[in-house]
């Protein structure tokens, strides 16, 4: 038998050896990719030469020549394209950070509301989620920008918002804090309160684990966070004053201007992402088995404590990974700023700078690289977190 089968395997063509086949397939793929890459590069160089567009980053330091209304550092039309890039990137990060903050709060509220025993609240949350998730973000942004913010009154008829802010069709004007000597002490007091609260939290947790005594962490920290700076404020004699926006001529003077583009983008991103976060939160809470609720009930824990000490810690394990990817989506979606003219990375760099310089490859490449870096960093964090939080099983 073995005598017969041996020559047969010897005869079998190399093509039927899975290993050899694998090598052939991969070699073919590499060949195809190299060929396509080579053709593309040679086409690009021909096309660029024909259109007389140089290649390289030499435009980075040339004068941009256009202004950007919202810049986080001094920027003018005389600044360089490189500065414009940084302005755009910072604006992207700014709107993403605010958006993530508000979307998380709204999303958790709506997600919990969808599970509420109150029929009206649950249905209202459901309607919100269904409507928001089934409409394109672009439409929602246009709605906020063109249909809500644009019809606001002109500066001379500004709406006064309690607290000294003014709202009109050129934006929201909020009071600007002016710090004089001694204001640093308030900041120091606040920092002290933050660290004190963290230390107290750790100590209280340890005590609870050891003795079972529960300390009112939340109230005490809140008191410290508000109280200590307040005391410092009084002691130093009130070194913070506010520069209130006021009508001056045809426009509002003073205060900090929040541009309508920023407001519209923030509103749009927040409400849109909150709809998705709400579903994530709901799924996370539903993933906690019913026995956990019942056990907490039978221990006599009140609803709020059941939620905060039993259900949410377990739900977070399920919630965090999709939550992170929603944060990432929000950041990527902020590139829709192009449609309403908020000067983010996409609008400034991919839009204006590309139009002015015509350097398609460099600019699209850089923009993609920036978003890709943000994405990869986020997913690296998520993998790390997943490994830490994964249930350790035998």
């Amino acid at each position: 038998m073995s005598m017969q089968s041996a020559p047969e395997t010897g005869k079998a063509s190399l093509w039927y050896d899975p290993k050899i086949r694998g090598y052939v397939y991969q070699a073919l793929l590499i060949g195809a990719v190299v060929y396509i890459g080579y053709t593309m590069i040679s086409n690009v160089s021909q096309n660029l030469a024909r259109q007389r567009i140089p290649f390289g980053l030499d435009f980075w330091d040339s004068q941009a020549g256009f202004d950007i209304n919202q810049a986080l550092f001094p920027y003018s039309a005389r600044s360089s394209y490189g500065d414009a890039f940084w302005v755009g990137l910072l604006n992207t990060l700014l709107v993403a950070a605010f958006g993530i903050f508000f979307a998380t709060i709204l999303g958790f509220l709506v997600g919990i509301a969808r599970l509420s025993k109150n029929w009206i609240v649950a249905k209202a949350a459901m309607v919100y989620v269904e409507v928001i998730r089934n409409l394109p973000l672009l439409l929602q942004l246009l709605f906020w920008y063109k249909a809500v913010l644009e019809p606001l009154p002109r500066p001379r008829d500004s709406i006064a918002i309690p607290g000294g802010a003014l709202l009109n069709n050129r934006g929201l004007y909020v009071p600007e804090p002016v710090f004089s000597a001694g204001a640093g002490l308030i900041g120091a007091a606040f920092l002290l309160a933050v660290f004190g609260s963290i230390a107290f939290y750790l100590w209280a947790k340890q005590q609870q684990a050891a003795t079972g005594r529960i300390y009112p962490i939340g109230w005490l920290s809140l008191g410290a966070l508000i109280g200590l700076p307040a005391v410092a404020y009084v002691v130093t004699g009130g070194p913070i004053s506010f520069n209130y926006p006021a009508m001056g001529g045809l426009n509002v003077r003073g205060g900090i201007t929040v541009y309508p583009e920023f407001i519209a983008l923030l509103l749009g991103l927040t409400t849109y992402t909150a709809g998705f976060i709400a579903e994530v939160v709901r799924a996370g809470i539903l993933a906690v088995s019913k026995g956990q609720w019942e056990a907490a009930d039978s221990l006599g824990l009140p609803y709020s404590r059941t939620l905060s000490n039993v259900v949410i810690p377990q739900a977070l394990r399920v919630i965090i990974p999709p939550l992170t990817s929603n944060y990432l989506n929000l950041t990527k979606n902020s590139s829709l700023a192009v449609v309403i003219g908020y000067p983010d990375l996409a609008q400034v760099f991919l839009g204006t700078v590309l139009n002015q310089t015509g350097r398609a490859i460099e600019i699209v490449g850089i923009t993609m690289a920036v978003y890709l870096t943000i994405s990869l960093l986020t997913s690296a964090f998520m993998n790390y977190y997943n490994q830490r939080m994964a249930l350790v099983e035998r």
Binding site: N43, N118, L135, S335, V338
Partner: protein, 441 residues
């Protein structure tokens, strides 16, 4: 268990009189107490919610229904000082502009071609999504093969169109006949006369006859430049190009990502992660400004084709991840069973693994498609006149410039997108339930 009358004095000998039913466990009052006013906090929530509803819903109804203008031929119909009453939404604007919203600037006389494509699209959607529809395999051939080719030929027109149309038709015909012939050779009987084959041949024959009719009869279809296409036509075109291309390409990428061959795996992972890491806008810009640089000048793609390519590539990466989820859910025993039957990789995937994997990811595929459908609006940014852009462009028309035009247009767009996306998500949920029912014990 033997309880006799004298066993214990504390055992009740006769039943107690029946108590009346608790008055408040049924009926609307009880329901309200349990669901709306269970506790003071709950009552407060209910009141706040009721207040919000009472302030928004009637106002919206008043604006969009009761005060709305339903007919008229110009802005005067929707101006309150001309009409003499308070004016809400200006639906007359939508009615007047509807043709533009559907076809864009597509040549008036040639719009029957668009309608024909809509019809084919509708038939194939029902065919593929309705699970009791017969001859699914023919439906797939129709949706992924015949429809895209004929739709493009039909919509664009021109002399070369029918030529390629006929070539494609004959190629498909030859391919199906060849399949049936080889099946007959293998010993199957009645291959040519089974209903499935008859339908396939019927469709192909209709396609060829149509091509021949156009060739012989009215002559070549006039070219309608893609710059004129717009509205729902373009939105559907981009969305369906996305799905037609992304499904096969996504499956290939997913298989590549799970492949044991390191280089194939590497390329798949890099492609998927790269595309998923960047926003669609950058991909669209790349397709719009970089693609023409990548190809020789004479091949420079059409302006409408560029976002189609961009969207298709983008959707493929997301589809690949959905399909990968399905592949991972197939137990290892299925792979091993297939291999022990002596099936090669291709047959194992085609006959054993993919049919099971794709079935369980139908909801995921539909959800990806919903996302894709919403994302088609982004092509407005690179100047394509999709549905959203036609609406936005109509606001600039002085004929309909009224204070309420914009609100009406957005509401119309919202209704369109909501019906499409919500319908799809309902479908996906129903499939999910059906799949779950099979798993229940």
């Amino acid at each position: 268990m033997n309880v006799s009358a004298n066993a214990s004095a504390y055992v009740q000998a006769q039943s107690l009189p029946q108590l009346p039913a608790p008055s408040n466990t049924k009926g609307p009052i009880h329901w309200m107490r349990a669901n709306l006013f269970a506790s003071p906090a709950n009552t407060l929530l209910t009141l706040v919610a009721l207040y919000l509803i009472a302030t928004t819903v009637p106002a919206l109804l008043k604006f969009y229904v009761f005060d709305a203008v339903w007919s008229g031929s110009g802005r005067d119909a929707c101006l309150s000082d001309k009409v003499g009453r308070e004016v809400g939404a200006c639906w007359a604007f939508v009615g007047d502009r509807l043709q533009y919203f559907i076809y864009g600037s597509y040549t008036q006389a040639e719009r029957w071609r668009v309608n024909l494509v809509f019809l084919g699209f509708g038939i194939s959607i029902v065919w593929l999504l309705w699970d009791k529809a017969p001859f699914k395999s023919v439906g797939f051939l129709f949706f992924f093969g015949i429809l895209p080719i004929s739709a493009w030929m039909l919509l664009y027109g021109g002399a070369r169109a029918e030529f390629w149309f006929l070539i494609a038709g004959f190629a498909l015909l030859a391919w199906t006949i060849w399949g049936d012939v080889s099946a007959t050779r293998k010993g199957e009987t009645g291959v040519f006369t089974r209903p499935e084959s008859l339908i396939r041949y019927g469709i192909l024959a209709a396609m060829l006859l149509f091509g021949l009719y156009v060739q012989v009869g009215p002559g070549e279809l006039p070219v309608v430049e893609t710059g004129l296409w717009g509205g729902i036509l373009v939105t559907l075109l981009i969305a369906s190009a996305g799905i037609v291309f992304s499904l096969p390409f996504g499956i290939a990428l997913a298989l590549g990502r799970r492949s044991k061959l390191p280089i194939i795996k590497l390329f798949s992972v890099v492609f998927i992660e790269f595309v998923r890491g960047v926003p669609l806008i950058t991909v669209l810009f790349m397709a719009n400004v970089m693609l023409p640089l990548f190809v020789p000048q004479e091949w420079s793609p059409d302006r409408l084709l560029r976002p189609l390519i961009g969207v298709a590539l983008f959707a493929s990466a997301y589809m690949a991840e959905v399909v990968r989820g399905g592949l991972q859910a197939i137990p290892k025993g299925q792979y091993e069973g297939a291999m022990s039957l002596g099936l090669g990789y291709g047959k194992m995937m085609r006959l054993i693994v993919l049919p099971q994997a794709l079935r369980i990811v139908i909801p995921g595929i539909v959800n990806t498609f919903i996302g894709l459908f919403k994302d088609t609006t982004l092509v407005t940014i690179i100047g394509i006149f999709d549905f959203m852009k036609t609406i936005e462009a109509s606001f600039a028309d002085p004929l309909w410039a009224t204070p309420t035009t914009r609100a009406t247009g957005y509401a119309f767009a919202a209704i369109f997108y909501f019906i499409c996306c919500w319908g799809m998500s309902r479908y996906s949920i129903s499939v999910e339930k059906k799949l779950a029912a099979g798993q229940k014990r």
